[in-house]
Symmetry: D2
Subunit: 327 residues, 4 copies
């Protein structure tokens, strides 16, 4: 590639009640509120030196405005724009100054219809990593990845690995070796983005990285004591795939958040992607627990980067299914 | 009382395959094997200075031979014997030398039909608390409690609190303030024994105490990597009642083991038993997770201390039921 | 004994700057402030259902007004009073209403000159054990023990074990088998009080129990980020004796606080006190670290329960010394 | 650069007693022994899919044969060779087959005289990340970094950042803004290599990454219970610089090993190197503990990649000194 996508950088989520969102993300989970106004809250994790990694915008309906990746330089944006246009994917620019704290961004609907944004510049702020007295709730360190449901994972996989420079760390194979799900990275972790077969395009969850397992356990306790028990959708548990120690939460609008600890280094060219059989019960949950149906069927609506309208979804090409457990 | 029951001391479980049990309890969970022969394995936790807290005996059928409590002195045994006989509960003595490493014991079927044993003397062995290189698996520290299903919890509660000197720390109240479940202690922890309404008398589980939450998480990982995923029945989770961070396992014969961290000091006379409503969803699982049906219906058969025959069970007087969750 | 001392219950410390103390104990360590006024702050841990376990009183000079034990009943106070008087230890009563939230108390200078207080009643308050959103700093669960420097440990040991009903869990023996230090308990933990040979009588530290090791590590981080690095005197480390995972802090007045995790059950009459040789390098610090001189020489002045004057100290009968390390 | 150094890959250490080394690294610390023979032991961490990251070779004298970095491709080796030769740094090739499990390697004495090795190929083996029953001791996940003492840190800094493509995450500035120490990375972590001002060139330590803090605490307990207390040189503690939760150990030959948890993502071009003042007491130890003199003065001798002779050392250009603490 003539461009360098560094990492998953931020999600822009539309929410219906800013105060309810603040109570969940700031008061309960402990994300740092960098800045906010009547219509928007900008949040970041404890180690993040950029202005924000999560934007919550007041809206009539919950949805995903855009998922953003950071690139190495401004020049990369031009190259990316040319590339997308050459593929018939219509891009749009959001000029610097139009969005708080961030430079010029390039937006595009990707090959699956997901709303992406690329940028090279974001304001820097004080990193709070060593301000330990400010740690609370989940002690979220940083944004880690997006997980998206798309109807044709193979198509997304090919596009991201062949054209955008992503590398596969692990994947789930269905019958006939078709890719049912794939974990792809730019930074040398398990993933910056994962694709799962399902009604899509939709955002399944935004993953945030925690530095330890006990913060995740404590999050359950804090959520429960604040009355957010019903927000705990799945976990704590261990994924076989990715080895993540995970907790899935639903925010007040139903957006799904993963708290995530584990991960491993994927820097080496000789690291072979790990293949999991779709029916391996340890793939989804290493310990054998079954995931709730909601986790397989519910996800966030994504918007058109040009019109702001909801993107309609298609049925998955592979029969979507929950793994069978014979326990 | 003119006797002093100190604490939950040991369980004697009949198992059908000693080698399968050893793989589970010793190789996977890391209990210390003090001694064993062709028909019996004696196990203890890392801080225990007594010879064992769990006895596994080779048998044709899985069952519970007896649940043992340690008393302050030999004299207490005589007083207890007189007491039980005065209540029409027929006792039997097992003389010293008949059981390995333990003094004379008094056995009795309690008011619910549970097989109890009392003793004052057990051989002491090296405590391995500071032999950290021997820690493995769950790093179990010590036996903590029994949990029993009985058809009439109120009757058991009255007998243990009024006649045996147990104190209630927490309880679950059904309609009309009837006791649906109760947690009773002699040592100043949450419990030495708990009773739950259900088909009984049966042993629901033996609880072992861990010193930290991460040992419990690691146990899940170890069990899964050894193929014991299906042995994980419930958890990890937090009980509202007792505040336990818990994991429920089923051993190769289906006996249920609880790994348990949490607890609090219950030494004070002004500590008021904590009342939980049967339908409070946070009672069973503070975080809101539903327990599997097996946890509510399956338990271990107990034996007659005189005949060695299985004790027949009765339906609970209170309608047994799983709490309803409206999440 | 015809009385029953339940446990270590509270310390009353004189401090010179209430606001400085509040910043340390409440803002940094996270103790719960039950109540306070211009001259006093009442603090408790997360699981404590009694009004307080630590009282900070505004004074011109830092000192220890009294160390309190809870007894089973009001009657025990009368018996204790008679006992102390029979031993020539002059007692004084503080009538109910004279101290906030606590019933009538019996005060006495013990055989080493330490100011003790006994009480049976204290107001109960909401237990915050499951209010996890209020957890902060060290997440202190409860008061655990006192550690005192006295010139004649053998005398204190004899008095507490023979007359007050304390039981020894572990001790340090100097040459000629003389007791150099002893850990004594009423509740079945390692200790409610420990005595070390040294200039005394003085209070060496008040120990608070934490539920896990990571809270103790996090405390170091929080203290350091708030500028309290110099308050960390010793640790984190592991004591060989008691197996405690420990952290010693000095409050703004120099009073020493131990944060403490570990412990084990000492309920059994057949538990033999563990003997440590004074020169065993693993006794003090299992990992081999040397303790700072201040830890061996500095301690808090204690007051006369009748006059409120500082108690003068004597040199230890056994040569006080820091263990020698040959590493 | 026309080459791409991926990461710190392996250290080759000469040791005088293979069995003593095995007891330390395998039995106590729990590193995985991939393979060994009479003269060599090959070790790796739990997540490593390459054959080894630490080689212990039987020798008469303890020393460092070489520190190895993995590069993206074989071609990179050629480019690197040309580069070093152009700088007057004499290289040597070790052909494939001459060293077990590794392809052709390029060796060179770097600008400070440190023995480096570069390679693109190493045999892959089973990754044991999810073989949790094999976890023991320190549960080391992977090699992380080298830390080297050199007399002229500024020179090393310039060479690595300007010519080898390393990026600075944090550094210590002495008077006149001279670089006293620097942390440099290729993988987006805090470092692959750090340089400290001191007698050199010498290897100060090899850093290994742990996934959690409790594994590090448990390592102390395990080492102490096995009699390795004296091997614990410094820690557990928190570095201000790098935010590492650290433990420094000395192996049986005195080679220093760091166990390390913490770290943060350094992928972004707008991440500004963090500057620490040499006399900031929180730089070295965030909590304020003083490091032992040995940590500042002792380090491992390194060898000439051509002759195998020990490299002589020079005094540091900046006055080497331990930070002053005014506590």
């Amino acid at each position: 590639m003539a461009f360098d996508i560094i990492r998953t950088a931020r999600a822009v989520l539309n929410v219906t009640d800013l105060e309810a969102s603040r109570r969940f993300y700031v008061d309960a989970l402990g994300l740092i509120e960098t800045e906010s106004d009547d219509s928007t809250i900008y949040l970041r994790g404890l180690e993040e030196h950029n202005h924000h990694s999560l934007v919550l915008k007041k809206a009539d309906t919950a949805s995903v405005e855009v998922m953003s990746y950071k690139v190495q330089s401004e020049d990369d944006l031009e190259v990316l724009s040319d590339f997308f246009n050459s593929k018939g994917l219509r891009t749009t620019w959001v000029e610097e100054g139009r969005q708080k704290a961030i430079g010029r961004t390039l937006r595009v609907q990707d090959i699956s219809g997901l709303p992406l944004e690329f940028f090279a510049k974001m304001d820097t702020v004080d990193r709070l990593l060593q301000q330990y007295h400010l740690y609370k709730g989940a002690r979220i360190q940083r944004i880690d990845h997006f997980n998206c449901m798309v109807p044709d994972v193979q198509k997304a996989y090919d596009f991201y690995t062949e054209s955008l420079g992503f590398v596969c760390s692990e994947y789930t194979a269905a019958e006939n070796e078709q890719v049912w799900a794939a974990w792809l990275h730019r930074k040398p972790s398990v993933h910056d983005v994962a694709f799962m077969s399902g009604d899509g395009p939709r955002l399944h969850h935004v993953g945030f990285w925690l530095s330890d397992q006990l913060s995740l356990i404590h999050t359950c306790d804090v959520l429960a004591s604040l009355g957010y028990g019903p927000s705990i959708e799945r976990g704590p548990g261990r994924h076989g795939l990715s080895n993540a120690f995970f907790l899935y939460l639903r925010d007040p609008d139903g957006h799904r958040i993963e708290l995530y600890n584990g991960d491993y280094l994927t820097s080496d060219p000789d690291f072979k992607p790990i293949k999991w059989d779709l029916n391996d019960p340890q793939r989804g949950t290493f310990w054998g627990h079954e995931a709730p149906d909601s986790w397989f069927h519910e996800a966030s609506t994504v918007l058109d980067v040009n019109t702001g309208e909801a993107i309609s979804t298609d049925q998955p090409k592979l029969k979507q299914r929950k793994p069978m457990f014979v326990i």
